[in-house]
Structure formats: structure tokens, C-alpha cells
Amino acid sequence: MSVLRLLGLGWWLQLKMRSRSAFDGALAIVYPLFFATSVFLIYRQSASSTALVAAAVGASVMGVWSAVATTASTSLQNERRQGTLELLVGAPRPFALIVVPITLSMATIGLYSLVATLVWGRLVFGIEVSFVHPLTFALACVVTALGVAVMGFVLAVSAVRYRSAWALGSALELPIWLTCGFLVPLSILPDWVRPVSWLVPVTWGVSAIKAAALGGQPWPGIAMCLGVAAGYALLGTLLARRMVDSARTHATLALT
């Protein structure tokens, strides 16, 4: 109960903080629409309406990932700059439980981009996503956002030890677009990419969202997304402990 309370309050207050900057807010609103517009303009050339819907879904998840990838890896650097990172590490609660709500709040903001992309596609480009399984579609979106949040968690904890780990998120942003099949089907990529993509929860999430929207079996994708995300959560928790110990040894929790 106390863990849920920590996660819930942490998520809510982090969300409150992130939504209070007018500049950040405006960027978060406009940014996904640029992604969506570029993707729709490229895929409009295709005669297949299925490809266009798949692109709409891919572009929407792209927005969720982009909202988390860069901000997750810079978030702890920001905590370091404002002098709160030491207070988070010095708290008696496990550090992993303190970081998870931070990236969950980012993924929540990312969910907006998912909705905005689909609405933008409908209103401006006339792309109608008919949702074969609407409820499962909504669930697949939430599970995918959760998968993205957990990936962000792993990125974020690296920044506890390494002050320049903020660059990791930017470095991974585009490769994940490609390897998870956001825009192009995995089948046209080299064979060795496929096993790599299976290790990323979002691949399964995107596959579930597409199945729920276009017709197919979304449940295996949802289950795999949750399973792989659980693996990442475990990895992040172990990594958090190692990184905090290493940061205490190398004195990287503060700027001075």
C-alpha cells in the first residue's frame, strides 16, 4: 500500500511539475504533430489504406517514445542541477521506486501525443482508424506507454552515475524508431534486427496496437510487452543499486 502511495503521489507531483511550464507544454503539443505530418505525407503516396493506418499507429507511438527517451535521461541530470538528486538518493525508500514515477509521468504526457497523432491524421489527412477492438486498443496503448516508461527508467538510472549519460536517450531515439517497426515493417529490415527488436518492449506494444486497430491477435503482443517490460524493470532495479553505489564511490551525485 505504501509503495503504491509513493508511486501514485510521485507520479502525480512529477506530472504537475512537467505540465506547469508553458514553453514545455507548447512544445509537447506541437512536436508530435510535426512527426505525424511528416509520416502522413510520406505514406500518403502509398495506395494501401492499411499501410497508412499502420503508419498512423507507428507515428503515434513514436511520439510517446520521443517524449520519454530524451527527457528520461536528462531528468536526473536536472535533479542534480537543482540539488535534489542527493535528497532522492539519501531517502530511505529504494531509489528505483523514486525514479519510476518520474518516467511514468513522462509516458503519461507521451500518451497525449498518441491521441493527438490519431486525431491529427483524421482531421487533416482523413485517415480513419476504425479500431477493430477499441477497448483492447486502449489497453495496448497504456501497456505500450508503460513499456516506454520502464525503458526510460533504465535510461534514467544510468544518469545517477554518469553525468553525461543524458546523451544516451538522444542516441537511442532514432534507432528505436527503426528497430521497433514504428514506421517500416520489421520484415523488410535485415534478419539480425528482428531478434534485437524482440528485446524491446515497445516492439510488442506497437504490434499489439496495430493488431487491435487493424484486426488480429493483440493479446500475445500485450503479454510480451508486459513480460519484457518486467525484465527491464528488474534490470533497472539492479542497475539502480549498482549505479547509486558507484555514484557514492565516485562522488557524482552533486555537481561539486
Binding site: L6, Q82, G90, P92, D245, A254
Partner: protein, 319 residues
């Protein structure tokens, strides 16, 4: 709190193409003990190792050598237990979430510091009142003055009723009234049984509050005792202060060479310089000091009893 020969070394890197690393010894084997309910001061110039020592004791840094126990818990092996029982407040206006209200900051930290849910509301209310933020607690921190931020820091540090409180230059940058209120709050906490370890640059603050003091210079303890013991042990004589308008530096060596003079320092006071001369017990040096400064334009001349600041200056400047 038992600290035994604690050490901390850092690796500092220089250069871009040819990177070189060198080891910096920030803390060189400090040993001291703090009794339960005591207010212990750590004094020393910038870079002496005070903050590094505190960070090792609150488990944010691992010591390179030696050991330390807080309330019987080892700071390396039982970090979680130590964290449950200690509070940490530092000076300056960082360490708070600017976009959240003071109240939300306290709610968040109450959760992080495992304050039971049913107690949180009452505890936060008590602390907001204790630090005098009532009526302003729902405003965002970005609009707070420095003094208000410092008071919020103190409230944050006390949320989980820590048995040991570490105050790292808590009064830095706050106005005299705020600093006095802070001293009253700290004294009240000690009366209630909280053990406090305080670092400060304000000697009168240390003199007024601390039961015992350790003076650190270059990572080592150079003296330890009650404020009275430090004053007696280092400066037994009297202190002569002479206001000089002009270049006091050029005659300092002459003053230092006078019989009975133990140390001399200079403080800038606007257009004047205040030459502070400390002398041996029983030595009467006022007339010989004035003779040595004869070529200068002099202002106020005063003699007084030595203060903790005199003791501190002498201790940290010893070769």
C-alpha cells in the same frame, strides 16, 4: 556518532587530449565523537572537508578509509538504517522543486522519507507553523525569498523526526532576523533531544549554539573542544584592533615581529583596513603596535577579549 580515522580521496582529471588524473585528499583521517543530544560544530575554511565529512555520515559518499557509525549503524554497511534516522539541511536556495508549492514539496519528501500516511498532514502542518510559512505554503517555491526557501529546507529535513540532524551552513544568505530565528529553532530541537552536527562560517553562531567544536583545516582536525576551551587554548591574551587608512599590508611584517604578538590578520572594512593583533597572555602590545603603524593614517583603536573567531583564524592559519 562515532567517527574513526575517516578519509575521503577524490580523483581529479585534467586535460582533454592528454588526460591526467591526480588524487585529492579531501578528508585525511578525522576522528571525533558526538554524544546523543549534543550540538557539535564543524568549523573550517572553504575546501577544508566539512561538507565531504557530512556527506559520508549521511551515506551520500563512501569513505575511502576509516569508519563511522551513526546511532550504532555503520554508514557503509547499514546505509538504509542510517537514512531512516538522519535529516540533512543545507544552505542556499537549491534542493527544492521550484514549480511545486511549498506544501507539495513537503508532501513529496514526506513520502520519500517514509512518514506514515496518517501522520503526514499533521506533521506537515506542525512544521509549516514551526518555520513560519503558514499562509504561504500553497504558493510555488519559485516565488519564495531565500529566507523562505531556507525555512522550507529546515521543515523538509525535520519531516521524519530525525534523531540526528546535519545542518550544512544553514544560515548562509539569510537575513539577521531569519538567522536568529534559525538559531532559536536549532536550540529548541537540541532541547527536545535531537543530536545536531552543524557547519557554519559564522563564528558567533557556533559560539552561541555549539556544545563542542572541531576545527578542520585541509582535511584534518586542528583543534577540538568547547568554544571556551578553544578560545582559552589558542588565544589567552588580548586582541588589539587598529583601523588603518592606507596600505596596512606593507607594515604587517613589522607588527608580526613585535615581542608578545602571536598572530596578525587584516580585514577589509570599506575604505579602511582593520588590523587584528593577537598577543600572549600578560603582554602589553598596544603601544608597540601603534609605534609600528606610525607612518599610517589611523582610525579607531580598541582592545578586547578574544572571541571564537580569533581562535578560529589562528587555528586555520597555523603553518
Amino acid at each position: 556518532m562515532e567517527v574513526e580515522n575517516i578519509q575521503r580521496r577524490y580523483r581529479a582529471r585534467t586535460g582533454i587530449r592528454r588526460r591526467a588524473a591526480r588524487e585529492v585528499e579531501a578528508v585525511r583521517g578525522l576522528s571525533f565523537e558526538v554524544e546523543r543530544g549534543e550540538l557539535f560544530g564543524l568549523l573550517g575554511p572553504n575546501g577544508a572537508g566539512k561538507t565531504t565529512t557530512i556527506k559520508m555520515l549521511i551515506t551520500l559518499l563512501l569513505p575511502s578509509g576509516g569508519s563511522a557509525r551513526v546511532l550504532g549503524h555503520d554508514v557503509v554497511r547499514e546505509a538504509r538504517e542510517v537514512r531512516r534516522h538522519v535529516g540533512y539541511v543545507f544552505g542556499g536556495d537549491r534542493g527544492l522543486y521550484e514549480r511545486l508549492s511549498g506544501l507539495d514539496n513537503l508532501r513529496y519528501f514526506a513520502e520519500l522519507y517514509a512518514v506514515p500516511a496518517r501522520e503526514q498532514r499533521q506533521r506537515i502542518g506542525e512544521l509549516v507553523e514551526l518555520v513560519g510559512l503558514q499562509g504561504r505554503e500553497r504558493e510555488r517555491v519559485e516565488g519564495y525569498s531565500r529566507g523562505m526557501r531556507q525555512r522550507l529546507h529546515i521543515a523538509r529535513g525535520l519531516l521524519h523526526r530525525p534523531e540526528v540532524l546535519f545542518l550544512d551552513e544553514p544560515s548562509i544568505g539569510i537575513d539577521p532576523v531569519g538567522a536568529r530565528e534559525l538559531r532559536t529553532t536549532v536550540a529548541r530541537l537540541v532541547e527536545l533531544g535531537t543530536t545536531v552536527l552543524l557547519t557554519t562560517h559564522y563564528m558567533f553562531e557556533a559560539d552561541e549554539l555549539c556544545d563542542r567544536i572541531a576545527v578542520i583545516a585541509a582535511g584534518e582536525i586542528v583543534a577540538q573542544g568547547t568554544p571556551q576551551e578553544l578560545k582559552r587554548g589558542v588565544v589567552e591574551g588580548r586582541v588589539v584592533e587598529v583601523e588603518v587608512f592606507g596600505d596596512a599590508q606593507s607594515v604587517l611584517d613589522d607588527v608580526r615581529a613585535l615581542a608578545g604578538v602571536t598572530s596578525v590578520s587584516v580585514e577589509e572594512r570599506g575604505q579602511a583596513q582593520l588590523v587584528v593583533v593577537r598577543s600572549d597572555a600578560g603582554a602589553e602590545v598596544t603601544s608597540s603596535v601603534l609605534a609600528a603603524l606610525a607612518g599610517q593614517r589611523l582610525g579607531r583603536v580598541a582592545t578586547r577579549e578574544p572571541t571564537l573567531e580569533d581562535a578560529y583564524v589562528e587555528l586555520v592559519n597555523r603553518p
